[in-house]
């Protein structure tokens, strides 16, 4: 991929990132942080690619470690964010039985 294309993607993504988050209410700061955290877990894709390319045991070992860490980041991040957001309910919801789980 040529440098100009990469710089274009990068620059546009910076502006989108700024725009999307700049007006968020402080009510959701915690889930937002956790959700953004889960998104960078997509480094899992990169970890799988380098594991595929590995030629020595050292490379393979390090990339498998990267896969474990990235999976924890991605899956754990999305699960915990969902758990938090599940609890945010509007008014007029029928009274919940058994509390939150």
């Amino acid at each position: 991929m040529d440098a100009i294309a990469i710089i274009s993607i990068f620059t546009l993504a910076v502006f989108v990132g700024f725009e999307v988050v700049s007006k968020v209410s402080s009510t959701l700061h915690t889930p937002l942080m956790s959700g953004a955290n889960a998104i960078h877990g997509v480094i899992l894709v990169g970890a799988i690619i380098v594991a595929d390319h590995s030629q020595t045991n050292l490379e393979l070992g390090l990339s498998l470690a990267a896969i474990i860490l990235a999976t924890i980041n991605m899956v754990g991040g999305f699960v915990v964010t969902d758990r938090m957001l599940e609890m945010f309910k509007p008014k007029k919801d029928p009274v919940e039985k058994g509390g939150s789980k």
């Binding site: 990132g17 009510t27 970890a47």
Partner: protein
């Protein structure tokens, strides 16, 4: 799978992440947004198994399946076994620690990916690739070790106070210089050992960088490290020529930077002051005038009578509420008041809890509907019409010292307004000194100490 299809799937996943962040900006759409993001990440991960990325050294891509397929799947299974139960079981009060930990492992993964790719490319790497690799290794390692320290601080495995040792700033500055020096060394010498030195120095710098940050400021650092990890993912996207990694990483980097700034603003602190405050901070003495104001103590029955005749009640919760596990009781009380036609709102300080927005999560866990959760700026102007304010486990946000920047760096509820309303109920589980400060803050004669 063709290269074009693979790239388009990557683009779709990138769009899913944008929609996820967009959705997360409102409680109504947040859950769906997060699920869209999760779906995007899942599809992107699956697509890697169906497309072999050609190696950068120009050799042709091998055919499917991927090399080491079973080891890769095994590693993912290990990650799932560790990550999912941790995410399912964590107490809501421990959320900040978990986010810090997840962020740290993400940064560690990015650094490892960069190291492996560097080992693999060897002397065939272009200068630009080496520079991006060096960036990823430095920032990924700082994010990893820094996040582990923030985790330990929040989990109280170590002191939550700023750790400042004599000459600390020189040690940190020296480490930073050493990190940058070894970065130049890696770019010029292109060896494995310089890279390892760089990684170790970066890990050390991450530890030193977070140690002087005090307990209350730790969440801001988590958010900053989150943005850092995003940028490392973007940089490794360059090395691996993956558009998806560039989009996802940059989004997190940019939104994380804004979020960090919003949080720092909500706490009334400059980002610079947060990060380097411990070096310049002077001991803060609250030397308020010892003017005694009358305080009345009452029982729960007295409070019940008081609330029964109120028209509008504002509940100001703090982390003490969550520690005492009293959210459900408070919600039941609020429901009872609402059923009697009393207007009830929760006035929530932006950094109530241990992380910006944390209190909202804790109250949502107790089934408080989100439209009762009012931000500080919304609720402050309404105190004139409020009959009773109930402050629970939140001494600091109503502390008079908080309104003076010299004494406290928190933005305070404007409690001059408290003078005009009729009753102010404050639980006394807090410390004596905090109670004393609150007494001073009230000119009203009707300060009640409610004991539950």
């Amino acid at each position: 799978m063709s290269t074009n299809l693979y790239s388009l799937i990557g683009l779709a996943a990138g769009v899913a992440f944008i929609l996820a962040l967009k959705g997360l900006s409102h409680p109504k759409t947040a859950r769906r947004g997060n699920l869209i993001g999760a779906a995007g990440a899942t599809v992107a991960t699956l697509s890697v198994f169906l497309y072999v990325t050609p190696p950068r050294d120009g050799s042709a891509a091998h055919s499917l399946p991927l090399n080491h397929l079973w080891l890769i799947l095994g590693a993912i299974a290990v990650g799932l076994i560790v990550g999912v139960p941790a995410a399912r079981k964590v107490e809501m009060t421990q959320m900040p620690q978990l986010v810090a930990l997840f962020n740290g492992v993400g940064g560690g993964a990015a650094a490892l990916v960069a190291i492996v790719e560097y080992l693999h490319l060897g002397s065939g790497a272009t200068t630009a690739e080496v520079i991006f690799t060096v960036f990823t290794v430095i920032v990924g390692c700082v994010s990893f070790s820094g996040s582990i320290i923030t985790f330990m601080k929040l989990q109280e495995l170590m002191t939550t106070r700023p750790v400042v040792f004599p000459g600390g700033r020189f040690v940190i500055a020296g480490t930073l210089v050493a990190v940058l020096g070894s970065a130049v060394w890696v770019v010029n010498a292109l060896g494995t050992s310089p890279l390892m030195v760089l990684a170790v120095l970066s890990l050390l710098f991450g530890v030193l960088f977070v140690l002087p940050v005090g307990g209350a400021d730790v969440p801001i650092v988590i958010s900053l490290l989150n943005a850092f990890t995003g940028l490392t993912v973007a940089a490794s996207g360059y090395v691996l020529s993956s558009t998806l990694l560039i989009i996802a990483g940059t989004l997190v980097g940019a939104s994380g930077t804004i979020l960090t700034r919003l949080m720092a603003e909500a706490m009334g602190r400059s980002l610079f002051g947060t990060l380097f405050g411990a070096f310049t901070a002077k001991p803060q003495e609250v030397s308020g005038s010892a003017e005694e104001r009358p305080v009345r103590s009452g029982s729960a029955d007295d409070v019940a009578i008081l609330l029964n005749y109120a028209r509008r009640v504002v509940i100001v919760p703090g982390f003490g509420l969550a520690v005492a596990q009293a959210q459900h009781t408070v919600r039941e009380l609020a429901d009872l008041m609402i059923s009697k036609g009393i207007d009830v709102a929760y006035g929530i300080h932006p950094v109530a809890g241990r992380m910006p927005g944390h209190m909202n999560v804790l109250l949502a866990e107790a089934n408080v509907p989100y439209d009762q959760l009012a931000e500080m700026d919304e609720v402050n102007p309404t105190f004139g019409q409020t009959d009773v304010a109930i402050v629970i486990g939140a001494n600091d946000v109503v502390n008079p010292a908080a309104q003076d920047p010299r004494f406290s760096k928190c933005v305070a509820f404007s409690y001059r307004k408290f003078h005009s309303h009729r009753y102010f109920i404050h639980d006394t589980h807090g410390s004596r000194s905090a109670e004393y400060q609150c007494r001073q803050s009230l000119s009203s004669d009707d300060f009640w100490n409610a004991r539950k």
